[in-house]
Amino acid sequence: MAGLRPKLRPGGSSGATEAALLQRVAGGDRDAFGELYRRLQRPLYGYLMKLVRERELVEDVLNETMMEVWRQAARFEGRASVNTWVFSIAHHRAVSRLRRKRETALDEETAAAIEDDAPTPDQRAQQNDMNRLLASLMEQLSFEHREILHLAYFQEFSVQEIADALDLPANTVKTRMFYARQRLKVLLEKSGVQGLVA
């Protein structure tokens, strides 16, 4: 199987919707599965890297997620979008693997400890790059806070789509986002940044 790439056969599924592809996957169509993987691999990989952070583990979870998609394809009921459904599987797989690994995935406590290593104002001046600072501070957020920022900002999921993917009420999604951003503001202030925060 060397050199195998997630590509389509000619005249295949490039124009098909994810739902149509999933329907074909449910019938055992491997080409459709390959196309679905091609479409989802990058966003899923980015999402899992944000959460799990270890490349090897991310690859395992990605594999497990897509295997679950293969197994469960016929049981997709269309209550949410295919995207949301697959992210939901990835979320649960990631949580399960991290729990098994007994990794705290940088919870708030760990993040608090890391705050001591956050750039001082002087270091920040040397860094002279607000975006890099912000990126490093985002990495200090908890698993849940990183996840919600990523889903909203990068995956551009709506409140309801995040609620579906994480199995949360919509109001909890908004509250969690609010607290994630609050936490980020606190970290910014501790790094000496003023004026950006309302």
Binding site: M1, A2, L4, R5, P6, A26, G28, R30, F33, G34, Y37, Q41, Y45, G46, M49, K50, V58, E59, L62, N63, M66, M67, W70, R71, Q72, A73, A74, R75, E77, H92, R93, S96, R100, M130, N131, L134, A135, M138, L149, H150, A152, Y153, F154, E156, F157, S158, V159, Q160, A170, N171, K174, T175, M177, F178, R181, L184, K185, L196, V197, A198
Partner: protein
């Protein structure tokens, strides 16, 4: 300024509501009503404008950061396609099965703790097995020798496995796993929370154990039974 909020309530959108929704406003994921209301609030609130600037910067950073991650190696796809080869797919859920499950959920009041749910379902399964055994005895005759009602069925079943499920495992998913193996619960929960399940006669025990262990998010332990 009013808007039908995303939680369905038709109520004025306050500045605090708008503040919460800004991340989705920035990605164009608010409803038209919410967008209009936020536009109005933004026009007269410097605080909200500053907040939107920060949201946009956060978004830019998050996007740039995630885009830099790249994509998985081709080996993952190769491995995946190897795994798919011969991997079993679950059949669709039947409408009547779903309705049955809904009835069971209502009847059993399945809002209780997971351990209690398993106990209730296991008890029901035992009753069904016992009932079937009694019916068989009454229709075929048990002969002149004594035997318990459950003995013939359980000994006639295939190899046994002792399984413990994780507390967070949902009953529907667990039931699906067991039925995919064509197995049935014949005893449990035992004091340690374990269940004894019987496979079909002639079933491949190693494969069944591997399948159960593959459901690492549901299954805590699997051991061979008697």
């Amino acid at each position: 300024m009013t808007a039908r909020r995303s939680d369905g309530a038709a109520a004025p959108l306050s500045e605090e509501d708008a503040m919460e929704l800004l991340p989705w406003y920035a990605t164009g994921k608010t409803s038209p009503e919410e967008t209009k209301a936020i536009d109005g609030l933004l026009a007269r609130s410097p605080k909200l404008q500053t907040e939107l600037s920060l949201v946009r910067r956060e978004r830019e950073v998050a996007r740039h950061d995630a885009a830099a991650i790249g994509e998985p190696s081709p080996e993952i796809f190769q491995k995946l396609m190897r795994n798919v080869e011969g991997a079993r797919q679950l059949p669709p859920l039947q409408q009547d099965a779903r309705e049955g499950a809904g009835f069971l959920q209502r009847w059993l009041g399945l809002t209780a703790a997971p351990a209690l749910r398993f106990a209730l379902v296991a008890a029901c399964l035992v009753i069904v097995v016992e009932g079937a055994a009694l019916l068989r005895l009454s229709t075929t005759g048990a002969g002149n020798h004594y035997q318990t009602a459950s003995a013939p069925d359980t000994t006639a079943a295939g190899p046994h496995l002792i399984v413990t499920f994780k507390p967070e495992a949902g009953i529907g998913t667990v039931g699906g796993v067991i039925s995919d193996l064509n197995a049935s619960v014949i005893r449990g929960p035992m004091p340690d929370g374990a269940y004894v399940i019987a496979l079909q006669p002639g079933a491949n025990v190693d494969q069944a154990i591997a399948t159960l262990r593959g459901h690492g998010d549901l299954v805590a332990t699997v051991d061979r039974g008697s």
